[in-house]
Amino acid sequence: MSILQKIKNTVRSRSIHVSYVDVGSCNGCDIEVLACLAPRYDIEQYGIYVHNNPREADVLLVIGSVTPQWVDKLREIWDKIPEPKVAVAIGNCPISGCVYARRGTLTSPPVEKYIPIAAQVPGCPPRPTEILNAILSVAPLIFKDYEEKQP
């Protein structure tokens, strides 16, 4: 492993930038993501920063059961994130549509249909600890030795 890769690994493990997007949910999961930022859970002590700018992000948290207006925009947001990147589905909505998965609702879950999802955090809403654990466990899998893993 090259020195450069080692430096990159170290830096990436302590500097995970997060952006989140709500593509149509009840806002419960947004509030749990917000709770991660608060001192009770203090997401920054793990080296995770929330900027909410896709161009700076490494991790995209997708919340909500995709409404038609979001279908093309979600793809755009995903394309704007520089490599290496990873998307995490937060809550039941992006996985199954949760309580919106009924006839006559304007949602088309799952979110996997539109962008690749690396991890799912089920729950309605999930606990902040579950969100944190998901980010912390999925980030090293994708970011560690990213350049060396490329074909």
Binding site: Q45, I95, S96, G97, C98, V99, A101, Q120, C124, T129
Partner: protein
């Protein structure tokens, strides 16, 4: 000046410096009272389906046939962890957080019945519902093909040119009447109410 000196002294305290650089919030632990996904307690399931009927989330719970009996299965990603199935189960098959302890302590339970409603504008008084109802046939084997009956004990009968519901409480919720009605005039709804059983009664 005094306050500056005070602050500098304060910030140079080893304890303060240690806290500033190394403080961590409490580890990521899930408290024991957290209402997680309902787990099986090992009690035997009688396949009464109360849990499935009360579940507010689509496709969250299914009571499945196992080799020796029945067993409810919860699907994460669908289940919203509301705990209603835990409360509704009469056998205590499921458990989650403190729900079972609290319901036992407070003596709360769900009371359910079936509500029958006939839309007189849609109903054509054919009597199919009264005839097809298995409970009706049991009570009054002589129930006429037109749905009229001499018995006052039947759930419903055609009376005075319309369907009259007499004993809603005997309905078992089988919905045979609903499927046999040509006009979708009769509707069966399951009603649920939370009740508290007084200490004296328990």
């Amino acid at each position: 000046m005094r306050s500056i000196v005070y602050y500098v002294r304060e910030f140079l305290r080893p304890e303060w410096i240690r806290k500033f650089f190394f403080a961590k919030t409490a580890p990521l632990e899930t408290p024991s009272y957290f209402k997680g996904y309902p787990a099986l307690t090992g009690n035997e399931c009688t396949a009464c389906l109360s849990c499935m009927m009360i579940c507010p989330a689509p496709n969250a719970i299914a009571v499945l046939r196992t080799r020796d009996g029945w067993e409810p299965e919860i699907y994460p990603g669908h289940c919203i962890r509301c705990g209603l199935c835990v409360e509704a189960c009469p056998e205590g098959v499921l458990s989650s957080g403190r729900i079972l302890d609290v319901t036992r302590r407070d003596g709360t339970a769900f009371w359910s019945w079936y509500h029958l409603q006939v839309d007189d504008n849609l109903c054509m008084r054919c009597g199919n519902c009264c005839v097809s109802c298995p409970v009706n046939r049991e009570i009054d084997p002589q129930l006429a093909g037109s749905g009229t009956s001499a018995s006052d004990e039947v759930i419903m009968r055609v009376e005075g040119g319309r369907v009259r519901i007499l004993h809603e409480e005997k309905c078992t919720g089988c919905k045979t009447c609903e499927t046999q009605c040509p006009n979708r005039a009769i509707r069966v709804a399951r009603m649920v109410e939370g009740v508290q059983i007084g200490e004296a009664e328990t």
